[in-house]
Amino acid sequence: MPFRKIVVIDDEKDICRLMRSILTELGDYEVFVAYNGSMGMARCLTEKPDIIFLDYVMPQEKGSTMIKLFKRNRITQNTPIIVMSGLGEAITFEEKESWSWLTDYLDNLDPDQELDAVKIPEEIARSLGIRVYLPKPFNKEAIALALSYILTKDASV
């Protein structure tokens, strides 16, 4: 496995710190963290990461805005994005239409089943610009699963 750079963008500093710690355990990753969208964007443009972990609900730049910005930029447009979010947003996502797959997905879930990283169906991923959805709260296992979705060929868009 080649050396990989990861940028984690989350307004919760603790989550950023823990993510860094766990990601470095999971593999030979170099992890950069940012506490808001614009900092995250700057980091991505300088570091050119292989993967971006993006919190969807943040006080300043919203996740949806960030995705658009990443897609518009030549440097980041092909970088796989893993969106991290609590399920609560599923019902308040601004783009109701594009996110309705998530509520459908949740409705059809066995109530006792634990929600791990979700590989987003290809056609939806294309329209959303993200590949994997990592529902909060998540643990080390879920992060590993999310990474494996990105690293396996069939997850490529």
């Binding site: 919760e12 609590g86 399920l87 609560g88 947003e89 634990e114 709260p137 643990n139 080390k140």
Partner: protein, 492 residues
């Protein structure tokens, strides 16, 4: 100036008539007399002309005595009548006055001034009588027009007056009620009812108001009694009963709607809140779970004082919090129903199989009494399975080991558009009436702390209602609970 007086004189004796005419002219410059000799003529006269007074001889060629007066009063009720009578039938004349004549004169025993005075008084009295009758009629009309049931009682509870509405409600003739005591008529009791407002009014001389439910008809009345005081003495009371049945019903419906609205509002607030709260809770939960992972890694193989066990406990608790939040979310998020034809018995069987382990663990037996025919319903398969799963899961939880669950389905006719009833009864701990009222409310639970979120039955009710069905519960503390889910059968 004297008012003109026009007299109709009904008298067959010419000389007597002449005398009376003479008397009138002597005394009154503007008096005029129309003289007829029979009832027949007088009836014609009364039709064509107007008069101020009638002087009536009782003995006429075509009528005699009492009949004479009756014949005249049949065509005339407005004019005062003065009877002319012979000396020997004065008692008859008195009788006539009771029948409505104003006065009488004994022939040969009156002079012109007495005649005049009698006539003038008769006219005056008739006017007053008329005014009195009109005012009495008006009062009665008004009294009877009131839709409230009203009667007036004397100081001894005897009914002395009543309006039409009251008489109609009692389905009795007013004559049969007059003079009877109100407690006899209304309650069939020979003693006054102590809590009746009229008893209180009689006691303290002020108005009282009470709501009274007629247990026979189910009608509610607002009964007001107001005292009638004369010279500071209690003379009786006005008793008014107003039918407030429909008003009460409307009030109750309004209360129901308000309660529903409140519930909806609560739900809406809950929905908004949970979206926000979820985010706030999920972030720290992430931190907890990630921290646990980090600690575990950092400890490596070392585990000095069962720290790993404690960490597992932490992890489980965090996951439990997450589960509660997710249930809360699935509750406030109105699911989109994807309707398809669902085999009801198979859906119930699926729910049973999901519970198999739990039931076996508790040694609970599930007895199925399905209808012979398969029943198909239009439903969202997953949601309807969840309904039965929740109900069965509650049944298992409510029972001691060795309990029994009975499942019964009642097949309706084949015509479709009907409801199928699914009854799920257990032999568990049952519920009190207070508990039954609350079980469908979100967050109400009878389970031990940490064992239930109180959302299961709320979800059941919501899903059943989304399917245009209904759910009912019968329970007895200590002997078990029975839920009946009614769902519309798919047509054809």
């Amino acid at each position: 100036m004297l008012k003109p007086i026009k007299t109709l004189l009904i008298e067959d004796d010419q000389s007597s008539a002449d005398l009376i005419s003479e008397f009138l002219r002597q005394n009154h410059c503007r008096a005029s007399v129309c003289h007829v000799g029979s009832i027949k003529e007088s009836v014609d006269c009364l039709k064509n002309e107007t008069f101020d007074v009638i002087l009536l001889d009782l003995t006429l060629p075509d009528s005699e005595g009492m009949n004479t007066l009756d014949s005249i009063t049949r065509v005339n009720t407005v004019l005062p009548i003065v009877i002319l009578t012979g000396l020997n039938d004065e008692s008859l004349a008195v009788e006539m006055i009771k029948k409505g004549a104003q006065d009488y004169l004994v022939k040969g025993q009156f002079n012109s001034s007495l005649l005049m005075r009698v006539i003038q008084y008769a006219i005056e009295r008739k006017i007053i009588e008329q005014a009195l009758r009109i005012s009495e009629q008006e009062w009665r009309k008004t009294f009877n027009a009131i839709s409230d049931r009203i009667f007036i009682q004397d100081e001894d509870f005897r009914i002395v007056k009543m309006n039409k509405a009251f008489a109609q409600t009692m389905k009795l003739n007013p004559e049969d009620i007059f003079g009877k005591k109100c407690h006899e008529v209304l309650h069939g009791s020979d003693q006054p009812i102590p809590q009746c407002p009229c008893v209180k009014t009689r006691c303290d001389g002020i108005s009282h108001c009470e709501e009274i439910l007629d247990t026979e008809t189910g009608q509610s009345f607002q009964v007001t009694t107001s005292p009638i005081i004369e010279n500071s003495l209690y003379k009786g009371a006005v008793h008014i009963a107003r039918d407030i049945t429909s008003q009460k019903k409307t009030d109750e419906e309004l209360k129901d709607i308000q309660a529903q609205l409140l519930q909806l509002e609560k739900m809406a607030v809950l929905g908004q809140m949970s979206a926000g709260i979820t985010h706030e809770i999920k972030n720290p939960l992430s931190t907890i779970l990630l921290s646990i992972d980090c600690i575990k890694t950092k400890m490596g193989g070392k585990d000095p004082i069962q720290i790993k066990e404690l960490l597992n406990l932490l992890e489980e608790s965090a996951q439990r919090i997450n589960k509660v939040i997710n249930e809360l979310l699935s509750f406030v998020r109105t699911p989109n129903i994807k309707v398809q034809r669902v085999n009801l018995h198979r859906a119930i069987d699926t729910a049973i199989s999901l519970l198999d382990n739990k039931a076996r663990h508790k040694n609970v037996i599930c007895e199925k009494y399905y209808s012979k025919e398969d029943i198909e319903i239009n439903a969202d398969k997953l949601l309807i399975e969840q309904v039965f799963y929740n109900l069965l899961s509650n049944a298992v939880d409510a029972m001691e080991p060795g309990g029994r669950i009975k499942l019964r389905t009642e097949c309706p006719g084949m015509s479709g558009g009907e409801m199928v009833d699914v009854e799920i009864s257990d032999t568990g701990c049952g519920m009190t009436d207070e508990e039954i009222v609350k079980i469908f409310e979100p967050f109400f639970t009878t389970k031990d702390y940490g064992k239930g979120t109180g959302l299961g039955l709320s979800i059941v009710k919501m899903v059943v209602e989304k399917h245009k069905g209904s759910i009912n519960v019968v329970s007895q503390k200590g002997s078990g609970t029975s839920f009946t889910v009614s769902l519309p059968v798919s047509a054809g």
